[in-house]
Structures are given as C-alpha cells and as structure tokens.
Amino acid sequence: MNIKNKKLDLNEFMQIRENVLLDWPTGKEVNLEEAFVFQKSLPAHLSFSSLLADAKKNQYILIQPRAGVAALDKHIELLQYLQDVGTADCLPSTIDSYTRHKRFQEAQQGLEESIVEGRSLLNGFPAVNHGVSGCRRLIQSVKVPVQVRHGTPDARLLAEITLAGGFTSFEGGGISYNIPYSKNISLEQTIRDWMYVDRLIGLYEEQGISINREPFGPLTGTLVPPSISHAVAIVESLLAAEQGVKDITVGYGQCGNLIQDVAAIRTLESLTQSYLEEHGYTDMKITTVMHQWMGGFPQDEAKAYGVISWGAATAAFAGATKVIVKSPHEAMGIPTMAANAQGLMTTKQVVSMLKDQRMPLTQELKAEMSIIEQETRSIVDKLFELGEGDIAVGTIRGFEAGVIDIPFAPSKFNKGLILPARDNVGAIRFLEVGNLPFSDEIKAFHAQKLQERAAYENRSVDFQMVIDDVYAIGKGKLIGRGSKGEQQ
C-alpha cells in the first residue's frame, strides 16, 4: 500500500494539480494566488467558519437546506429564495450526480437541455461546468455563506473551482464520499484524492482564509449506528487536520431515539476533539451538524413535516451547531423552491422555540454516551493498530477486515457484514456485529436489547426486522414492529 497519513509535499501537490486542472476546460480558470485575493476580499458574513463560531458561542442552531439546479440563474434564484423566504442561515450548492462522477460531458448536456427545457434535468448544480466565474457570480448574489455539498469520490477539480469561486465550506471525505457513494473505487484512491482536497484547503488556511470542512456524517442514511459514523468522522478529521485543515464540522444523521441522538451529538464533538488533541492537532475549531432523518420519508407532506420537526427538536435538545433540513417533498423528489423553504421554516420555528432547552446530563444519557464512546474508541483504536500507527493505512485495512463496516453501502470495498435494527425504544443497535472489534460485553448488550424487543413483539431477531425498520418511518412509525404494540 502506497499511502501514508502525511502532509502532502507541496511540489508533489503542485504536480498532481496540473493534471487535475486539465479534467475539464474550466480548470484553467483557476489561479491560486488570485483565488486567495478573491477569498480575502469577501465580507465576513460570507465566511462559514465565522458563522459557525458565532453560533457555537451564542448557542443558537444554524439551519441549512440542500439545494441545487442546473442553470446558474435558476440556482441563484433558488438560493436567494431559501435565504429570504426560507430564512436559511447558510446555503448549499448541492452538486449533480454526473459531476460527482466526473462525467462532465453528460453534466454539460444535462445543463444545456435544462436551459432549453426551462426545468432542471440534473439533480444538482454542475459547479465545474459553471466554472470559477459562475461560482463567483453565485456567491456574490447571496448574503450568507455557501457550502459545496455533493458526494463526490474524486472532488479535486470541484474543490479547486468552488474554493476559487468563493465557497467557504466543503463537505465530504475519502471514506464518507466513497463507501456510500460509489461501487468500484478503492479507498486508497479516494483517501489520496481527499488528501489533495484537504491540502488545498490547508493552503487557504496558511493564507489566513479559513475554509470549513464537513465530513459527511450520515453515510448511507439508513439505520447507521452512531459509533460507525463517529469512527468515520474522527478518521476523516484526523486526515484533514494533517493536511492543514483547521475548521471541522463533524456530522451525524438523526436516528430518532432522542437519548441516543443527544448522546451521539455530544460524544461526536468530545471524541473528535479528544482524538485530534491526542494526535497533536490542538488548534482546531470543532462544531457539529445533525442531519434530520436521512432514511426513507413518508410520502404525505403533513407526515413529512412531523419527521422534519422531530429532527429540528432533536438538534435543539442535543445542542448541535447546525442542522441540515429536509423538505416535505423528500419521499417524492427533489423539492420545489417553495417546499424547500417550507422545510426550513418549520425547522426554524422549532429550533428557535427550543433554543433555550437542552437535555440535562441524566443517568440514561450518560449510559448511552458511554456505549457510543466505548464502541467508537474500539473501532478507531483498532484502525490505528492495523495501520501500525498510521490512520490512513489502518482505515484501508480496517475496511478490508470489516473492522469498520457501513450498513447498506454500495461499495465493494465495504465488507457489508453488519446489520442494524432498532431496540424496543427505537435506538439503533447491532443485529449483526460482523467483524467489528467490540468487546463481548458490548456484543451482549446489543443482543440483549434486540431480544427485549423481539420478546415484546413476539417474533424473532432476523432480517425481516431490519426490513421493517427500513420502512418504518416512511410508514409513520419509528420501530418496524409486527402487529403487536402498534397504534392503529
């Protein structure tokens, strides 16, 4: 294995860079020195880092949508609407799936057809095709910071263009944008490509331009137990920090059980902080983001509002710095501008109403936090062990060994042995632990929790339980019970 968690040599970086910029004609618009000047010229209210720091300090919760359409004008209109009507505190540009797979030619075709048809045929904003100048027009049309949100295994050109274009936050990572988002790309490849992205951001940091980095927390969005996503978030934070990233927002997708979710957000912040410090990255700014339920949604809009609100309430009780908002159209398709703003307004109402209420540190919460901590540490520590101290190497070996494993992931580089299911109060537990390096005690804990539920429902602990749980929220429940114990 020819990889190391080591800051990329600047010359090497610059060599790779030449090729990266050739991937699509807009690459040649990027000039780093000029980009630094441009970023420095941006007003403070367009800086994601500043906004996050302010929210963390003053304990309010930022709300952010997902949004992106093909045409630049329409995309600007969309973001302005979400800012003005939706009262979004910060904005995204969600990138289309062709761009995510560097199929820039198909993206171009989709973009052109979209302009002709007057509706977006792409499921996001093709930032690379719009180039640096297009991005700058966008950034200068809004009043709040804008982040690149995507799902791109190789995001090097995308990062070059969008950062030069004035975006101040970049989502993703070598694991979180590979395993849930691709099939055949090796982790070695994506970790390496994301080192490039992080190194690039490090260069901006060296210029005093703080660019926020957000590992993608929810992974496959479907019943991911907190320790799994925490482990990934911590690894990606360590990798990013090594390349010079200073401002990190670690993420988590809401599970639905309040105590588990609060415990998850609290431990996510403390564990990340602690691993970074242990490894010598002491000047980091850490914040958290909670994603409202990322799995299947109910089709009915009124019901979707219920799910959205519960996500908002959870973020408030947990004290997340930011919450990513779903829309009432979630189950049906990419939301209209109006539906997207509605999700935001519902969320804003709830997070502002609950702003001053935090969950106190009860026995139950402590216990849940301790479980998550133990599990996360056993995974991350095992990765270090496998990598003989190198977390990049360890992570690749870890995925090979199934020591870290993501449920429902499409990637062939993921072992796919674990199965999650909900316990009798809806917390997500392990039905199959696969090769996760958990203690017998922890394994017994999960088995017992699921047994409790199975006994209550008078059924067996099996794959049907997993399926029922995958469908549950879409069908108006949290736990996919059989007939027993259900409200009609």
């Binding site: 509706r119 792409l122 479907t222 499409p410």
Partner: protein, 136 residues
Amino acid sequence: MSHTIVLGVIGADVHAVGNKILHYAYTQAGFFVVNLGVMVSQEEFVQAAIESEAKAIVVSSLYGHGEIDCRGLREKCIEAGLENIKLYAGGNLVVGKTPFKEVEEKFIAMGFDRVYPPGTDPKTSVDDINKDLASL
C-alpha cells in the same frame, strides 16, 4: 416456475437500500435474481439478460436522472435480439415531485412495459411480473 430476472439501479445512481430489499423480496417470491447492484449501465443490463436468459429486466432509478439514463434501453435490447424481454422501471424516476401519470406516459413511450411510482411495495410488481411472464 422460477423466472430469471435481472435487477439493478441504472446510471450513476448509488441508492443501494431499495435494491437490497428488492433482491430479498424477489428471491422470497421465488424468482431467480441476477442482481447487478447500483451504478449499472444499459450495456450491463443487456449483457446480463443475454447471459442469464432472463425474461425481464427490473430497472430502479432513485436519484432523478432516470429519464436521461433509461432512454434507448428498449432499442439496445432489440439490437441485442431481446425482442420479447419485459422492461420494468420504478423508484423516483424523474427530478422532482411529478404527477405519476406524466412519468408513466414518458416511460411507456420509451418502451417500458410497466412503470411504478415512488415507494411501490415490491409485492405489487411480483404479481405483475408473474402475470406478464406466464403469458410469454
């Protein structure tokens, strides 16, 4: 009778959850399932159908690009000599919440035999497939 069907998620689409559940449901229903997983090209679908002598291709598309990705699949099947193969499509086939009637017409016009709205219970299609393949 154990029909062979080819299953997959077309295009650059990585939504894997529904695919895993469809695989399970179709297997439970007695089909022999050739599951190509996610990110499957039209060529791969056709190739797999030829190799497995499948009578039906079940295409999922969730991420919104289904319209672009599915165009020409029927023609590719015909070129490859699969004149009679049944084509099914389901998922969130287009970008945005759209009246299903419109989507259905669009995909029928492209040569699909049946089209299903978002969140269709796999069972619905099991019955349809059994009916359609019985008549072949």
